[in-house]
Symmetry: C2
């Protein structure tokens, strides 16, 4: 069995602020970035790749934290690392000195996500399978052993989790056939960044419809008049049958959110995303009661499984937007998807950023194959930028993610991209300074 010999963590930043890609009411000038983890083994053909996503400054903090997080794995036989994915997660979580800095939130948790994403990638590569298939083929009891169910027992026990997985297991091949035929449905956010002009918005909306998208999302929240105009314009272009969602990126107070969304509801919105603080479970519940039938969606800043447990318990959300680089990788994401399924709330993962689409496609496929068993009312986010930096970028066909076939979690970046955008020493940044 190979041994994990070294961990490289790289600070990779893309100058997205120059084009207003990714601009929203909260985040006007993000430089999409990754704290990029490479796990090396003594088999030169076998590495694990993972990352967490940030928007620029502070990516160095995540890099430093990921180095500390990964330290206990160096020198271990892979039997102890990828052979015991639950044990590996617990080994890292057992560092109570680092735990104090969260617990299970912020920089140390983002770093845990980066490292565990790389560990899952390594495990799937070792098995020679795409991550989704590696997970879907794991026996239910063994898969539950990988999960962090702590603090969840009032909503999801180990027995619940095993029973849910057992129930869907016999029929997963039927759903796999659907995915092979049609892929997993996605929506696009590429049209609606707040920094885009009306002309650009109109053109991108038309392109999205022409490409077959049935769901489209706009950023809102900076100015009500602008939002009314932009929503009217989008609805005019996409027609009455395409779903329209809006995203306020946390800029409102609870009361403001309610009034603002009630104004926008005339455009037949499927959901309002991140209407207020991502931490405000009870606030989201109040907003949801007030703005129905517009749904409430949140979760991309959902810090950990305990927050999601409460969003579900409080009936605060209509759509559960897990983030693949903020939650503690599959170890924490799988229990959140199980809880959502138990409450009948669809999981519609957050994506975009750097490489989040590459990860998220695996998660939605796993949700469909072994957890919820349905794609009804579900749609994964897709944003069309920065894919060119990935060795196996996600592929979209007819507004759906095409089933990935390469081994691993699709997280590997091109060495040339890493060299160019490494911060601050890469060729792009050293020539920009």
């Amino acid at each position: 069995m190979p041994v994990l010999t070294a961990v490289d963590v790289l600070d990779v930043r893309f100058p997205t602020s120059l084009t207003a890609d990714g601009s929203d009411a909260m985040n006007k000038d993000g430089d999409y970035s990754a704290a990029y983890v490479v796990l090396h083994t003594d088999d030169p053909g076998l590495c694990g790749y993972g990352f967490t996503f940030t928007i620029g400054r502070g990516n160095d903090l995540c890099v430093a934290a990921a180095r500390q997080r990964a330290q206990p794995l160096i020198g271990l036989d892979l039997a102890e690392v990828t052979g015991d994915l639950g044990g590996t997660y617990r080994r890292l979580q057992a560092d109570t000195q680092l735990r104090w800095l969260g617990p299970e939130k912020g920089v140390v948790h983002l770093a845990l996500a980066a490292v565990m994403n790389a560990v899952w990638d390594l495990a799937a590569r070792q098995a020679g399978l795409p991550l989704w298939q590696f997970v879907a083929e794991t026996e239910p009891a063994a898969l539950v052993d990988t999960m962090d169910l702590s603090y969840l027992s009032d909503v999801l026990t180990r027995d619940d989790a095993v029973a849910m997985l057992e129930q869907l297991r016999p029929t997963r091949h039927e759903r796999l056939a659907v995915l092979e035929r049609s892929g997993y449905p996605c929506y696009t956010t590429s049209a609606g960044w707040l920094g885009y002009s009306d002309d650009k918005l109109r053109r991108l909306c038309q392109e999205a419809v022409d490409e077959g998208y049935r769901y489209l999302k706009l950023k809102v929240g900076a100015n009500l008049e602008d939002d009314l105009r932009r929503c009217a314009l989008a609805r005019e272009v996409i027609g009455p049958d395409v779903h329209l969602m809006v995203d306020a990126n946390q800029v409102w107070e609870v009361g403001t959110a309610i009034r603002w969304v009630q104004e926008l509801a005339q455009f037949d919105l499927l959901w309002i995303e991140e209407p207020t603080s991502p931490d405000d479970v009870l606030g989201h519940a109040a907003i949801r009661r007030a703005v129905a039938p517009v749904g409430v969606a949140t979760g991309e800043h959902g810090m950990n499984r305990v927050l999601f447990k409460q969003l579900l318990q409080a009936e605060a959300i209509d759509f559960c937007q897990i983030d693949s680089a903020r939650l503690g990788s599959l170890n924490e994401i799988l229990p959140v998807m199980l809880m959502a399924a138990k409450f009948g709330i669809p999981v519609c993962p957050h994506a975009g950023g750097v490489g989040l689409c590459e990860l998220v496609q695996h998660l939605s496929i796993i949700d469909f194959l072994i957890i919820s068993g349905t794609t009804e009312g579900r749609v994964a986010e897709y944003v069309d930028h920065l894919h060119e930096h990935f060795v196996e970028p996600c592929v979209i066909k007819d507004a759906a993610y095409v089933l990935p076939t390469g081994a691993g979690y699709s997280a590997e970046m091109h060495p040339a991209s890493v060299a160019r955008y490494a911060y601050p020493g890469g060729s792009y940044w050293s020539s920009a300074f």
Copy 2:
């Protein structure tokens, strides 16, 4: 007006794990540490001191984050910094790239606390007043201008805050006379660390009672039989009239917490502290309903004001335990204390660690003078270690904090202590390695 010329941030760690001081069911081997901020001005006699508290590894992350956090202040005239404490906080919070790493939680928020603690210290030193007095003498409207009320308007508006402060203002001198006479009541945790033997526990309980303490707290949660024996022993030593509290440091599931506390309730407990995940508002509410009349206390890991808002809204706590180095300094602590007062929930700050007692004495005094107007049912934590490293350590007399008189927030450490315990280059650590 002086100019803020430079910021030093130092990694200071004390080897407390060697003696099991600070040991509890979650944190068995903490090395109490500070990310210690010194703000320099062009007046050599005027500096600001502040810190956040960690338990060892990862303190370097907080140091690096505090350097980034403080960067925008360098070169500013103090009129813009200490002369506009709300604006300074907002200036630092306006960095949305760093915000992404929380938001408002974890390492970046701990770092904000460290920097803003130093800014408040500097403001009070400039005014030549102890921090508590500097705050208590600020006009209500001006004080509210320093507060971060965002995401709170469904519970506390600006008008509410001003009105509450105005109402107590005319009588604050009566309460000041009480404090000058009797100090602010505290309780001790020094007796009850989990790593202490029964003999040491018994001896320290007796010493606490002899010193006049009417409140005493034990760590619990590792083993029920041990907890039953230790609570019985403590109750036997302190008698029926001294309040006994217990602290589980987040180790339980919601159901476990309920069953365990119901077993311990026979010892007439005032509160159970941190029974489960600090993020689990609804879990704390469920525990509270089940274990009454034992009260529920939490907050030392309360990540930000939005969490406290919900703990109050959900009727999840009987005691609100703000932390002076985890919340974003006075800018965020004052609104939390106002919300607690509005809900009639006593604030009993968390202390101990490194220098938290030094800070907390100011906060409880402020709560009494201008926010809640009472000490009834309130008691601030006191732990007897590491005070020798502070230039103006808190003074305890008859189980009460004596009103501090030096200018500032009592946060300055002895240069010799910093030099000895700087990590990893200080004389202690370089000889230990």
